[in-house]
């Protein structure tokens, strides 16, 4: 139940955090939050906690780590790349 409680509070926090983002930042916000959803990498890592997994589990876990890594690495890099292009006039030219 405590986990459910945490979940509900985090949803409300999310609404509050995002509600006032100007529309010009919507794309970086989306790719940035996408990188955060790569947190499932923690879940993928924990699959390997057991010492003698069956082969299927090892395969599933490895692919899960790979997918989540794409998300994390790609998401953060591309967001940074995008944001590095958002410039003010003085610095822009």
């Amino acid at each position: 139940m405590l986990l459910l409680f945490t979940f509900v509070l985090a949803i409300f926090l999310g609404f509050e955090l995002i509600a006032k983002v100007p529309s010009q930042l919507h794309t970086p916000l989306m790719s940035g939050s996408n990188a955060i959803s790569g947190i499932s990498i923690v879940g993928a890592l924990i699959v390997f906690k057991g010492s003698d997994n069956e082969t299927l589990v090892t395969v599933l876990g490895t692919i899960a780590v790979a997918c989540a890594s794409v998300n994390v690495v790609g998401g953060y890099f591309v967001t940074d790349r995008m944001l590095s292009m958002f410039k003010k006039k003085e610095g822009g030219k």
Partner: protein, 463 residues
């Protein structure tokens, strides 16, 4: 050790929260992203520090990391929408696989029925697989549509709602059976995996190209919720909190996009907007004739203009015209005109798509105006240059009650003193709706590839 790990998770959740908060303002956004990346690093280190077998982890991380890195460096800014769509998909797939693997790992504990303490885990496994699966295939379809590997038109067939309904019922049924006896239900579980893949495809395929900003936002939300479900599977707070944050932010963006189109989410998801069934019968034939103009004549008008507004749309992305547009904007400024760029919230194929392209072309963001800021001053604008935008400047949304886009807020370019529309042909926009703007007294059509047209104008100024 346990305590240290938990503390590390708390720290990374805090960093995510600050990171997201800072992403909300242009001055802090880049630091916010770094902060959030740092949070991710801490979460990963804390997890690995529990003493895991690293062999396969390193293999997976190396493969995924390299793919992600290369893709992030190479993707052109014009392809951002399909890129983000794909990334939503990998996130969803990861959560699905985590649910599946945990199920296999713990299955034998449940042969004698599920103890009360594990009930949430069992339900969460099913949800993680379900949401993850829908996110995965839905994102793949969105990717294929956005990269135009398959047609962007909505795909509708009779009985579509019925088929989706049956599928959902089947998934719910499998779910109940699974939760009651997870150990004996491996086959129904696999059926449910397949069904969730199918559902993702069927839900996305009827949605048209112009509605893609809504779909991407929604899939973004799903990828967060899938991670959240995976968090419930392994009772891990940092997954639950970060997944919920992403889920909530995706929902907020979805709502913003729907509002910008004056439509409900249900209408976007189920109506197959612009498929022809809604548009063809009702749209009244537009009177008059479109008046073309050549670059040379357009140049004389622009040369004399003291204020110019660019209104970009998806066509600018297709033609990769953003750099040429910036160059023309600079020339006009040197010529003494006040230059603005007006961006409609759903211009392009994802939220903020045009802003990214203009930023890539070094347009300073002080010159970017949102719809609500430009409309009050548009009547004082000498020339509005519409580049590959259509529905977001269609005055029928204001005046034509029978029009499918009636009620959608638009950028009122038709109130400007004169309007240049850069367009490849007279074909109607993605919504399939006629645009009376093209036939207005003060509108001139500059036909051709947007980039070539802009470059021709630049050439006129230089020569």
């Amino acid at each position: 050790m346990e305590v240290l790990i938990e503390l590390a998770y708390v720290l990374s959740a805090v960093l995510f929260i600050f990171g997201l908060k800072m992403l909300g303002s242009a001055n802090t956004a880049r630091r916010g992203n770094l902060l959030s990346a740092f949070g991710m690093l801490i979460a990963v280190i804390a997890t690995v520090a529990q003493g895991l077998d690293l062999k396969f982890i390193l293999l997976g991380a190396a493969i995924g990391g390299i793919i992600g890195l290369v893709a992030a460096i190479r993707v052109p800014m014009t392809s951002m929408p399909e890129f983000v769509a794909l990334f939503n998909g990998t996130g969803g797939l990861a959560s699905l696989l985590v649910g599946w693997a945990e199920y296999r790992n713990r299955m034998e504990n449940w042969t004698e029925g599920v103890p009360q303490d594990d009930l949430i885990s069992v339900i969460a496994i099913y949800l993680a697989v379900l949401i993850g699966g829908v996110t995965f295939t839905g994102s793949i379809i969105a990717y294929l549509k956005l990269s135009e590997k398959i047609g962007g038109k909505p795909f509708l067939y009779t009985g579509q709602q019925f088929v989706n309904g049956v599928l959902v019922l089947g998934i719910v049924g499998c779910g109940v059976a699974f939760v009651l006896d997870p150990a004996g239900m491996h086959t129904p579980f696999l059926v449910a995996v397949g069904a969730s893949f199918l559902l993702g495809i069927l839900f996305t395929i009827p949605i048209g190209g112009a509605d893609m900003p809504v779909v991407i936002s929604l899939l973004n939300s799903y990828s967060g919720l899938a991670a959240c479900a995976a968090g419930f599977v392994i009772s891990n707070t940092v997954l639950i909190v970060s997944g919920a944050l992403v889920g909530a932010s995706g929902i907020v963006l979805t709502t913003i996009m729907c509002k910008a189109m004056n439509r409900s989410l249900a209408n976007v998801l189920f109506s197959g907007f612009g498929s022809g069934t809604t548009a063809s019968g009702t749209a009244t034939a537009v009177q008059g004739e479109a008046k073309p103009i050549v670059a040379e004549d357009a140049y004389y008008v622009l040369e004399a203009a003291s204020s110019v507004v660019f209104v970009p749309g998806y066509g600018m992305a297709v033609a990769q015209a953003q750099h040429a547009v910036r160059e023309l904007g600079d020339i006009l400024e040197e010529n003494g005109a006040e230059v603005k760029y007006a961006v409609h919230p759903v211009a392009g194929r994802m939220p903020g798509h045009m802003n990214v392209l203009l930023a890539e072309a070094n347009v300073p963001y002080e010159q970017l105006y949102e719809m609500d800021d430009i409309n009050p001053v548009i009547a004082n604008v000498d020339v509005a240059i519409v580049i590959g935008a259509n529905d977001v400047v269609n005055p029928a949304a204001r005046t034509e009650e029978s029009s499918p886009i009636y009620g959608m807020p638009i950028i009122n370019v038709d109130y400007a003193r004169s309007v240049f529309v850069l367009k490849r042909s007279m074909r109607s926009g993605f919504a399939g709706v006629e645009n009376p703007l093209f036939f207005n007294e003060n509108t001139r059509m500059l036909f051709g590839d947007a980039k070539a047209s802009i470059e021709a104008l630049v050439g006129q100024f230089k020569g």
